[in-house]
């Protein structure tokens, strides 16, 4: 047990925990991180094994409620239309994310100014650009510069683009005929050897752990370097609550080890990096007489404004064998053709499209996304028409913030340590439904132009809550935000939140690239302001 307080205690060793730990440890901070999960060895991943489509539905499912591992915490989903997805481990949910790595666009930071709805961010695209570029180099991003969906200038992705596959090429040609935007998707997946890691082998099983180590996750990209720089990472450490002093400063965290023994880790500064479900859960668990509504919650917004990107899958079936079970599951190509607001469509904001592989024969028979099941003699025709012959547009619609979409603590459900589990209260907004309807029609048009003889739609996938955002938003006004523009809690000067909780609006893109860039910016600020940082006496 530690006696000297850490300079910085980080809760969560996932994407942003790793980013912040590396920056601070290399700057000489004494960093301690508590992670409820464990390290995973790449040999554990099942992508190259015969059982991958069986284990992806249980042991390597993206839902903690389906996996139900001791290190997972359960989530009460009885009042949500979308299930939150995550993974507890060193590297966090990056172990099971797809690896798609698009950036937010300039308009995403100015939604109130441009569209008269939601809020503006306290920072702008240009301010974040240098952090995107540094983050891209740290994680190893493959892609092609010059995408006209983004402002010109800045660095190209550090590595060449990954292949777009036969399906991607068909759709790219279709978009050329339609005059629609497409571009090779940037992915945090290596196209060439980089930083001691192997390149992608196109196995298409990115979401069940990358056996090659080609897909970025901080257990590979950040934590080994952070530990070599002096950071201490404690696994199997489940934080029960943050402790505070009368002066309003946080003093550290009380946590439980795997055997249920309680510990206290003192710290001068605490950084929460536990995702937009876990972080508000912990802030609410840290209620005290001085903070009866939870820590850092004077605004009442802790746990509120949850955004999860309503997601639709539009799959096209082709006559040709495209071997579409192969390829990076990040995405092969993307389209921002209908991303920006056009009020004539009957909704505001838009969606980014990403074209993805289509799994193997078990998924062809029992689709986990769009599609049907066919039994009897025609089962064989059904599987042959699906296996390897599909191209899937995944549509991530911008989810507007709504305070009624929120996290609370369950009065009955607990994790394996007896700590109250989160309840998710989430409804899909009418704007999101209209947005998805429009984009589904356009994506269907894209696939038909590419030659698809059949288009199958999964309109609002329940297991699509990959992107957890907004439950401790940043802003300049303490009455309407939890964090300041540097990710520091307005109410608690030595508490930072660096995960997706800080998002003001959700944008319509996969957010990990932006989450990591913002976390890196926050870490830079911690280094630059270290001598002015208030700490407990």
């Amino acid at each position: 047990m530690a006696t000297e307080p850490a300079d910085v205690l980080i809760v969560g060793a996932g994407a942003t925990g790793g980013v912040v730990a590396l920056r601070l440890a290399q700057a000489g901070f004494r960093v301690v991180c508590l992670e409820q999960g464990d390290w995973h060895d790449r040999s554990e991943y099942r992508g190259a094994e015969l059982d991958w489509e069986l284990t992806m539905r249980k042991q390597w499912a993206t839902s903690p409620n389906v996996r139900a591992l001791p290190e997972d915490y359960p989530i009460d989903e009885s009042d949500t239309e979308v299930s939150p997805l995550m993974y507890s481990a060193v590297g966090g949910s990056m172990l099971i994310f797809a690896g798609a790595w698009p950036r937010m666009l300039p308009s995403d930071f100015r939604v109130r100014s441009l569209d008269g709805i939601a809020d503006d961010w306290p920072l702008a695209y240009d301010e974040l650009l240098p952090y995107y570029e540094r983050s891209d180099r740290q994680f190893g991003v493959s892609g092609m510069g010059g995408d006209p969906a983004y402002p010109p200038g800045g660095e190209d992705p550090p590595l060449p683009p990954l292949p777009i596959g036969a399906g991607g090429l068909k759709v790219a040609r279709a978009h050329a005929r339609l005059g629609w935007h497409w571009w090779p998707e940037p992915n945090s997946i290596l196209s060439v050897p980089y930083d001691g890691r192997h390149p992608c082998v196109q196995r298409g099983t990115c979401q069940q752990g990358c056996g090659e180590g080609a897909k970025a996750s901080t257990d590979l990209t950040h934590w080994p370097k952070a530990i070599a720089s002096g950071a201490r990472l404690v696994t199997g450490a489940r934080v029960r609550r943050l402790e505070t002093k009368a002066a309003g400063l946080v003093t550290g965290a009380t946590w439980l080890d795997r055997d249920g023994h309680e510990h206290f880790e003192p710290a001068k500064v605490v950084v929460l990096a536990a995702n937009a479900i876990g972080t508000p859960r912990l802030l609410l668990l840290s209620a005290s007489p001085a903070h009866p509504d939870g820590l850092a919650n004077a605004s009442g917004l802790v746990g509120r404004r949850l955004m999860m990107h309503p997601f639709a899958n539009v799959g096209g079936l082709f006559d040709e064998d495209l071997e579409s079970w192969q390829g990076q599951f990040g995405c092969s190509i993307e389209s921002f053709e209908f991303y920006e607001t056009d009020e004539r469509r009957g909704f505001v904001r838009g969606a980014k499209w990403g074209l993805a592989p289509t799994f193997g024969p078990i998924n062809a028979a029992l689709p986990s996304r769009a599609g049907t099941r066919v039994w009897g003699p025609d089962h064989h025709l059904h599987v042959r028409s699906h296996l390897g012959r599909g191209a899937n547009w995944g549509l991530f619609g911008e989810d507007l913030p709504d305070e009624s979409n929120h996290i609370t603590l369950s009065p009955t459900l607990t994790d394996s340590s007896g700590i109250p589990a989160p309840e998710v209260h989430y409804k899909v907004a009418e704007n999101s439904r209209r947005l998805l309807d429009f984009h589904i029609e356009r994506a269907s048009e894209s696939l038909r132009e590419a030659g698809a003889h059949t288009v199958e739609v999964d309109r609002l996938m329940r297991y699509s809550g990959w992107h957890l955002l907004g439950t401790a938003r940043m802003g300049d006004d303490p009455s309407t935000s939890v964090l300041d523009r540097w990710n520091r809690a307005h109410d608690v000067p030595n508490l930072y939140v660096v995960d997706g909780s800080c998002f003001v609006t959700s944008a319509g893109v996969n957010p990990t690239s932006s989450i990591c860039a913002i976390a890196l910016r926050a870490a830079d600020h911690m280094v630059e302001s270290r001598f002015n940082q208030q700490v407990p006496a």
């Binding site: 069986l54 539905r57 308009s107 441009l114 006209p148 683009p161 064998d321 039994w375 089962h379």
Partner: protein
Amino acid sequence: MTAQSTPSATPSDPLPTLDPDRRATFTAIAAYLIPAAHGMPSAGDVIGDARLRFVLAVRPDLVEPLRAALRHELGTDPAARLARLEREEPDHHAALLLVVVGGYYTDADVRERLAYPGQEARPVVVWKVPPYVEEGLIDQVLARGPIWRDPATGRRAEPT
């Protein structure tokens, strides 16, 4: 290493948990769902002890719901059994379907007939010009100009 990823570490053979009656019922349902047709074999023939053992070893959580789905009192008609399970016991129904499909599509002969080699390692080639560049598809996107919305004007950005 954690227990979740070590299916071979399952301590006991799950097959004896299926009595002969359940085993026969499973074969009948497998053949009903995936019969021999269109050059493909029947799942009733394909899913022998080895395949069934494989599925239940990697997914031991399916053993109990499978046993429930195969219980005697649900009758001998596969269609009626499946309809009732789907209606009244969806978790047991889902487990039964997954065991059938999992056993069938992990069979080497079935995969060969489908020309599905499994998820292969195929090295990425980056030293060739991609076909989409050679075909001028990127040039066409660039020629259409920027599509991002400039916050300063609220309109699509002008080409620079």
